[in-house]
Amino acid sequence: MSGALIRILAMALKELAVVLRDRRVMTTLVASPVIQLVLFGLATTLEVKNVSLGVVNRDVGVASEQFLAAVAATRNVGEVIVYANEKALGEAIEQREVLGGLILPPDLSTRVARGEGGEIGLLLDGRRVNAAQIVTAYISEIAATTGMALRPAGPTPDLVVRNWYNPNLDYSWFTLPGMIAVITTVLVLSVSVQAIAREREFGTYDQLMALPMRHWEILLGKAVPAFVVGLFNGSFYVVMVAWLSDVPFLGSYPLLVLAIAAFSLAVSAIGLAISSIAGNQQQAFLGGFLVIVPMILLSGYASPIDGMPAWLQPIAAVDPLSHLLAICHGVFLKDLPPAVIVDHIWPMLLVAVVALVLGHGLLRRRSN
């Protein structure tokens, strides 16, 4: 065995022992991710269920009757409360009694019957922008269906919506594979970001510097525990989600594990680069926080990358999390072809190399 390999191995074993010896760390690494996976998987849904809506109905015809019946019947709307006028409705929105209100004009049924098409007013609470948008979509759909049914004559246009890969638009099919990637990010970063900062804080850094270890040997050795944690936990979550939830698993498990490996390497390298400049564990933790929030925001987990400004999209493209997310969703919900997976893996490896080179430079500069 070459000298460098022996030294890297010694460092890796020592780092693993440090991580594994601490019982609290073990709890953080094993128990809490499982709890998080379950909690987040259930809680971070963007569906709107059981909202209350208000109604000011000035129409007495069949159109309003059918429309309101359709609204009340959907599982997204819980209660429909009738208000006498717009002012009362406005106060109800102000008091957050209802998310929004429908205003049905007196001539609604007449106009629909004449085939002119009716107009319905929808007032929404802009403070709850996400829910408001989603409710808008629901209401538009109901209005369209109701209008279609009430058209006096003529063939109804044949519009059939089919959602590929997730036919019932079940939200957990999107969140659960995504959670695997997000929780792996948090774990790998929190392990790697402490690695060098801990040595500085505990005063062991001097002894380390007096040993015949090169900076890159230190970095590689220290990357091992975070890498192992990411690879092990990530692969384990995939099994858990595929086995315990009803999310289908259609792709290749080995390829997904390979992607998780590349991802863990990239995030470990980012964590080590932060750790190289941190003076103590607190700074390292804050530095990790500074990176993890944009990483998740830019990954497409919370909001689609296509919706971001054009200048932001290239930054999202170097976010390793965006690539793992794409692979995770692809491997779970459809059998993502290997070539596409490879296209997502090499940018992660590139990030790993760049971050390691950067970390090496920072470590060298700080030790002089």
Partner: protein
């Protein structure tokens, strides 16, 4: 007794859970009875893990005893008014990021003194500690001596009736040690009682009474001079033969009838187990010192064996004239501040070279430049013929480094630490195992193998650190205050190993604050205010003082040399 005692302990015991599961509990204190009258100063001495710190924590009301009676300031511990007790824990309890002023004012408020209401008290503290010019400096940027003074000022800010100082002079140079003692005297009022724990008998001997705590029991309580009584009739000295100083000491220590020995000037001193002259000729009986009484009481009767640690070192006398360590005009600047200026010296194979100087003088900076931990601004250093600026990793492979502060991994076991260091030096498989087994056997680490290194007693920590530094039997050994804070018997054991390792042809560079350790060096360099002020054998240093006289001791020479430089610099400035 005219006055009620400030402290009264009767039959106090305390045990702690064993470090390992199923390990027997540790009996930190066993039936300790003690009382201290107002205005008395008590020196608390004893070996590492002897129970000193536990006793201090009981006196401070921080730990409750398992059995026995404790009375602090005339009341049970739970009724103790903590502002009446000034407790300075080991190493102080300063906030490194806060400035001197912020630390002092924080502790003042915590003890119920509003700094703005008592400016004269604060002024008084700044003046006595000499910290007035450094009020805005972060505590972590102070030198060791100044830090201890600040910690002490924080402990006494509310003028307590009882002052508890746990190892206030550990790791501090002789000049600062005197100042710290003086500071404690100045800060304590006439009715203030003082408890001072230390491993340095000279400090303890300045107290009114000494308590020696060993294995949780009081082995001696009485006046300092009485401690020396135990060694009376067993102390001898003789003229050292020229040129073989260390060899003579080494031979003496291997004599089974000898507890310890030391070199002082041209004399070799011996302390024997029986009141009998040691082997050899020319021995004369001399008066015993308190530290010799201390050593007699700690003695476990086991004779020192030839150092197994050294036997693994290859003999390295093939190039006796090539320097193993060379410093060539080493200079280090931090901004405007020059930490070390134009330091040059060289160490031959087999030579022990001592770096002496007050805290903050530039000793550590010089040391760090030679181990590759700091890059020189000018000049260069070589280790075992390798230039540190171009072949840093190769140079590091050739050196063993024992830092001043324990720097191994506290969470990891002793065995895991040794495996890591061995791997870092490129040792694997059978070679690694052999090296580790050798260290464990030679340093008696077997009982601690599975213990977390951070929880070990100081003396064992230091042994582990020494073991880690010599795992790969390097040609060059760097020891930064290797014996700071350890008891006399551990110190004896350490120097026994160091001498034996040097005798194999290993070059040793050592920093120390103990003058008897400096006497054990072949040559010594004294640094003060970033500059070399003297270099030579201990004997040459004693003759280097101005006025053509010979200093009576190395310590006197040290003080005189520093004072001479101070006056010369003052003249230049004037």
């Amino acid at each position: 007794m005219a006055e009620a005692p400030l402290l009264r302990l009767e039959g106090v015991s305390k045990r702690f859970k064993g470090a390992r599961r199923r390990a027997p509990p540790v009996e930190a204190l066993r039936g300790v009875s003690l009382s201290l009258a107002p205005g008395r100063r008590l020196g608390l001495v004893g070996p590492d893990a002897g129970g000193k710190t536990t006793l201090m924590r009981i006196l401070a009301g921080l730990v409750t005893s398992d059995a026995g009676m404790v009375e602090l300031l005339g009341a049970p511990p739970e009724q103790l008014d903590r502002s009446e007790v000034g407790y300075m824990p080991q190493g102080g309890a300063l906030y490194g990021e806060l400035t001197v002023r912020q630390n002092l004012e924080l502790y003042a408020r915590l003890r119920g003194v509003e700094p703005a209401d008592s400016p004269e008290r604060m002024e008084h503290l700044y003046r006595l500690t000499g910290l007035a010019p450094f009020q805005d400096r972060a505590a972590s940027k102070l030198s060791g001596g100044m830090r201890q003074k600040l910690a002490m000022a924080c402990a006494v800010v509310a003028a307590p009736r009882l002052l508890l100082l746990d190892e206030p002079s550990v790791g501090v140079d002789p000049v600062s040690r005197q100042e710290i003692w003086q500071l404690a005297m100045d800060l304590s009022g006439p009715g203030t009682s003082l408890v001072w724990t230390t491993n340095i008998l000279e400090d303890a001997a300045r107290c009114d009474e000494i308590v020696l705590l060993h294995e949780g029991e009081i082995r001696y309580h009485g006046p300092p001079q009485g401690l020396a009584g135990g060694a009376e009739g067993r102390c001898f000295s003789r003229q050292l033969p020229q040129g073989v100083r260390r060899k003579a000491l080494q031979d003496l220590l291997l004599d089974p009838g000898v507890i310890s020995g030391r070199i002082e000037g041209a004399q070799l001193h011996a302390l024997t187990r029986q009141p009998r002259i040691p082997a050899g000729s020319g021995w004369k009986p001399v008066a015993a010192r308190p530290d010799e009484g201390f050593a007699t009481m700690l003695d476990d009767g086991a004779a020192l064996q030839p150092s197994a640690l050294a036997e693994a070192f290859p003999l390295r006398f093939d190039q006796p004239d090539q320097p193993a360590i060379a410093a060539i005009g080493l200079t280090r600047r931090y901004g405007d501040f020059i930490a070390a200026q134009d330091i040059s010296f060289s160490v031959r194979p087999g030579e022990i070279f001592g770096l002496l100087g007050p805290n903050g003088a530039g000793k550590s900076t010089t040391f760090r430049m030679l181990c590759g931990l700091a890059t020189p601004s000018h000049g260069r250093g070589t280790v075992a013929g390798r230039d540190l600026s171009v072949a840093r990793a190769e140079a590091r492979q050739a050196l063993g480094y024992m830092p001043q502060k324990f720097s191994l991994y506290g969470d990891l076991s002793v065995a895991a630490n040794l495996r890591f260091v061995a791997g870092a030096y490129g040792l694997t498989g059978a070679m690694q195992k052999a090296a580790i087994d050798r260290i464990i056997a030679a340093l008696g680490l077997e009982p601690f193998l599975d213990s977390a290194a951070g929880l070990l007693p100081l003396g064992v920590k230091q042994r582990l650190a020494l073991g880690a530094a010599v795992l790969h039997t390097p040609p060059v050994l760097f020891l930064d205050e290797p014996t700071s804070g350890v008891d006399p018997l551990v110190r004896r054991e350490f120097w026994h190993h160091i001498n034996a390792i040097a005798a194999r042809g290993t070059a040793v560079l050592v920093t120390t604050h103990f003058m008897d350790e400096a006497e054990n060096c072949d040559r010594v360099l004294v640094i003060n205010r970033s500059q070399t002020i003297a270099q030579g054998t201990p004997d040459e240093l004693r003759r280097a003082i101005p006025g053509g006289k010979v200093a009576p001791s190395l310590e006197a020479a040290f003080f005189s040399l520093i004072d001479t430089q101070r006056r010369a610099l003052a003249e230049v400035e004037a």
